[in-house]
Amino acid sequence: MKLKLLCSNEFILAVIIVILALVIGINNPVFLTFGNFITLLKSSIVMYIFALCVTIVMVSGGIDVSFPAIAATSSYVTVLTLLKTGYNGSIFFVFLMSALIGMALGLINAIIIYEFKVPTLIATLSTSAIYVGAIGTYLGGLKEIYQIPAILEAYHSRNLITTVNAEGIKFSLPESFLILVVLTAATWFVLRYTYMGRGIYSIGGSKKSARRAGYNLRLISYFIYIYVGLMSGIAGIIFVTLLRASSVRSFLGQELIIIAAVAMGGARITGGKGSVLGAILGITIIVIIKNSLILLGITSEWQTFFIGVFILLGIGVSAYRNKQIA
């Protein structure tokens, strides 16, 4: 039993993270400060939420690349609505609106994928273009909004932890971190302790057996994509409050990194295996690498290249190991 724990994917990842952190920390002590830790955490809240989305879909055996587009679309529409109506009540309704839009978009995904059997990759690649394209077309272009609604500006300033370092620079962990914690716990619970979640694993393992065992494939598929929509919608608003701007463009392009990180975290692309913990660890590694590239002084032009190399390395190692086992 103990041996199993030591050999598990998650444990190996955790060890790698500790080693990486130490190596980088020795090279550049800034890395290991509490302030830096908080900054990293803050900048990756959205990525962690996206990782939850990808994990659920991947466990069921699919690949969803539309989550950034859903986040962008639902948050953009919500922000525009806020600007127009000047709403300044509870932030809860802002999140609710974005979540509902996200769920609607997720529903569309579910219909295309389940009812019409369109392969998940092609379906979500297309719906990404459809959702962003639709708001671009029907809502007058994708403006970059720098004067975000007051209500969001206010939320930006709500922090959980604030700390000041020796030079007087302030670091703060926003309240939205709590939302991440809640979503993570909820997703973990669903996957581990509900039959909806077990149904997702079962579909990923063998659709045929899942059907025979009595799982309601339609219900489960709809749940997956609507839930992803919900989380994406929420992530979208969080992103806007962190960035203090609404920029659709900044959402897009993250698909690969998140998917790769989740795959590195132990989720099988073919489905049936994966965990929330693994996804979190995978993203953590990526975040650390990204941060270290910056600290190493690699220009932004070359960052894309190095991250790509590293990702392929990560996926490659895990794929190669799977190949040997097979």
Partner: protein, 329 residues
Amino acid sequence: MKAFLMNIKKNENDIKLFRLIVAMLTIFIVLVIVLPDKFLTLNNLKSMAFQFPEIGIYALAMMLAMMSGGIDLSIVGIGNLSSIVAVFTMTRVLNPETTSLNIYLVMIIAVIIGLLTGVLCGVLNGILITKIGIIPILTTLGTMQIFTGLATGLTKGSAVFGLPEQYAVIGNGYIWIFPIPLVIFTFMALLVTFVLKTQALGFNLKLYGTNAKAANFSGIRNDLVVIKTYALGGFLAAVSGLTIVGRTVSAKADYGNSYTLMALLIVILGGVLPEGGFGKVKGVFFAVITLQIISSGYNLLRFDQYFKNFSFGLLVVVLMIMNYRLSRK
């Protein structure tokens, strides 16, 4: 009854092609009516004839990857990287002014190096897919990042100029009445047809794409088939990239961002099955033209790129749904 079944399979392909050609002609006619003095002009037709080969050759590359049961999201990255390498060769490494070499020799060498780059990129894709075992979508997502990243790093993100003006003829000149890009596309289409219909690689590719396991059991060297297919795809992507540079007379790391989605749309429209094993060049050909007509129409109607992306995404979904319903009957 068996003859009946045979007709069904044949009919499915024919129906798709027929629908495609009808759609193409319909859209063409609609645009002629809606834009009477803009669409049917010589200028517009000329500009379409110069543009569609670029995306057409990318579509051929995508087609090959899809027929092998995979997908190649790195084609535009390969195209851009190859063209940048070629342009660097022409302007820095072998600059005709400083090295006093014949300018045509320089261009030829540069083109060859560019094509080689494309092939190598394709081979990398193939090796990652077969020897390491990363599925095509993740592999090509990763290599797209790497190729584009490399290109961005090399060019520091800005466009590269300084090409010899003789090179511009590739993208803007004619052989008799035919635009050179069109000629290049035709040759590439013929090349792909040649491989698919007469070469063992084409035959094995189709078998592999249909059922990789049975292909292995039949003695087909699956790994080699995949590597050669992606290598050929890389070659085609490089050809397209080099042709584009001929037209724009500059090279940029992120040119043609929407081309990948367009290429995907074209191959699906053209009847290539995402599961692998099936596809026809003539289907892709008509699909390319259809899409070019739509694209030009959009430009003339002043639709922005968002609508373009929106409608292309929508088209892919609608097509896949139609295909699904067709296969259910």
